[in-house]
């Protein structure tokens, strides 16, 4: 049964998975070009000053900020809008499988695809930065991008939560809370701005449970 759910989620997400992977490759290729251009243009010493002092690299890889966010949002929409359109979720709820298992499997598989995209981007970035910079810079860049990856994960779970919620008023309230929560992760534009990262990891870890709450309200017939 879990294989069937994976199959269904794959049907919904497959084109998005391929397109996002393609965008990731293009974005990484673009950053290789940008990094080489700055090194050539500024010279190694000036570039080093900018990279360390002005967090230049973070500004050159703005797509890393945007891609996980967009991917989380798109995956959430593609998976759950079709389920909620015309109350199609009722079909899923009638399947002979425990409802909590069904919901957790749906978000679990969706997140698995998101995580694959995030890891692809993360290791791609590591590869790109390591082509021109030493380990200290690589570590700074990668650690600084972690809140963005985490923000993408949060956006995915909260998008699923908001779409599954049957009441529009509640959706609106959740939307505002989501914005506030996710925006915190995207404020930093310099290195090492990830204070409280572990707290947010814990928050994201419990987010799948919000889907159970919204699913339960839908099941009860809440309007």
């Amino acid at each position: 049964m879990l294989k069937a759910i994976l199959y269904k989620e794959w049907i919904k997400l497959r084109w998005a998975v391929i397109v996002i992977a393609g965008l990731t490759v293009l974005s990484l290729a673009y950053s290789i070009g940008m990094i080489n251009y700055y090194i050539e243009f500024q010279g190694a010493f000036t570039n080093w000053m900018y990279v360390i002092g002005k967090s230049l690299l973070l500004k050159n890889i703005v797509f890393v900020k945007v891609l996980p966010l967009i991917t989380g949002l798109i995956f959430g929409l593609l998976q759950f809008v079709p389920e909620m359109t015309r109350n199609r979720m009722r079909l899923s709820y009638h399947l002979p499988i425990n409802e909590k298992k069904l919901l957790l499997a749906s978000v679990g598989f969706g997140y698995m695809f998101l995580l694959a995209e995030i890891l692809f981007l993360f290791f791609g970035l590591w590869l790109v930065v390591s082509m021109s910079y030493p380990a200290e810079v690589i570590q700074k860049v990668l650690m600084s991008t972690l809140p963005w990856f985490l923000g993408g994960s949060a956006v995915y779970f909260l998008t699923a939560f908001i779409i599954l919620e049957p009441s529009w008023i509640y959706r609106l309230i959740y939307g505002v809370v989501t914005y506030g929560l996710v925006e915190l992760n995207f404020r930093a534009s310099t290195y090492d701005q990830y204070v409280g990262l572990w707290v947010f990891v814990l928050i994201v870890a419990v987010m799948p449970l919000t889907v159970l709450f919204a699913g339960h309200r839908f099941r009860r017939g809440t309007k």
Binding site: P82, R86, N98
Partner: protein, 296 residues
């Protein structure tokens, strides 16, 4: 007799609005039930409770002995649901949807599905969202048949179907149900179709069950009588244990009743209404339905 569905003292409110009031209903195994009711009589609410998508304010609804809003996966496996509007995973193709559902049902009978799909003449890669309502209804019916459920709940199966697809749906349903001795609980706005397929009718009035009886008994036992008498206008009460419903048009009086012609004559006499000529007018199920529930 074994009951597949049993609703006891079902009451439901939407906010302050009472929709169902102390409804009692049971569905016996191996029979085909048609639930009829005008809009706003609580038919959809009853179906939603029965399907487990609404928790009643009070009372309970048991399906295979389990409360309908918390059916176990094993019990859900025994129920084939057709949702209003022939709801389907329309982002899937004909093949994908069969592939998906077949993994949930151990007794999956793929032949039923592919037999129906063969008649559509569409490619296996045809997306459900690109189908007409009629074609989609065949996909949904094929999936329910392949599931081989013990109970079929079909919510407004005729909605959006043209006469051809309605006839096709009914033909296949009749064949399948008779052959396999299934229990069916269906609703439809097309009463002529219901008449062709059901064994028992359940008619819902305002917030309550008006009657539940075999279709044959309803057709034989429920009568329509007409006579003309200006003096009778406004003097016959409906629902007085003899007359179920009464309509007046000018001096024409139409009575609906489960009583015989002689009983009606005696009743009119007791009310002081003299009638020289009274006739029984045969009815279709649709006319009987209107007679029971009223035109307004």
């Amino acid at each position: 007799m074994e009951h597949v569905i049993e609703c006891k003292n079902l009451t439901h409110y939407y906010g302050d609005k009472l929709v169902l009031n102390d409804l009692n209903l049971s569905v016996e195994k191996g029979r085909i039930f048609g639930i009829l009711g005008k809009n706003g009589m609580g038919k959809t609410t009853t179906i939603n409770i029965l399907m487990g998508f609404l928790r009643p304010t009070s009372g309970q609804c048991l399906v295979f002995g389990e409360e309908s809003h918390k059916l176990s996966p094993a019990t859900r496996q025994k129920i084939g649901l057709l949702h209003e509007g022939h709801l389907a995973y329309d982002f899937m193709t004909i093949r994908q949807v069969e592939n998906f559902y077949s993994r949930f049902f151990p007794n999956w009978k793929a032949d039923y599905y592919w037999d129906l799909m063969g008649k559509l003449g569409l490619s296996d890669n045809h997306k459900i969202k690109n189908m007409s309502c009629g074609q989609r209804s065949q996909v949904v019916l094929g999936l329910i048949f392949a599931q081989d459920p013990e109970l079929l709940i079909l919510d407004d199966y005729s909605m959006g179907l043209d006469p051809g697809y309605r006839a096709l749906f009914i033909d296949y349903l009749q064949e399948y149900v008779r052959e396999k001795n299934k229990t069916v609980f269906l609703t439809s706005h097309i009463i002529q179709d219901v008449e062709k397929v059901v064994d028992d009718t359940i008619i819902m009035g305002h917030q309550k069950l008006l009657l539940k009886m075999p279709l044959v008994a309803l057709k034989e036992g429920f009568h329509r009588y007409e006579f003309r008498n200006q003096n009778a206008i406004g003097h016959i009460a409906a629902d007085d244990k003899v007359v179920t419903n009464v309509e007046y048009v000018n001096d024409k009086v139409t009575l609906y009743s489960f009583k015989s012609l002689n009983d009606i004559k005696a009743h009119l006499k007791s009310l002081g209404i003299s009638v020289s000529e009274i006739a029984e007018i045969p009815m279709t199920l649709e006319e009987a339905f209107i007679g029971l529930t009223g035109k307004y």
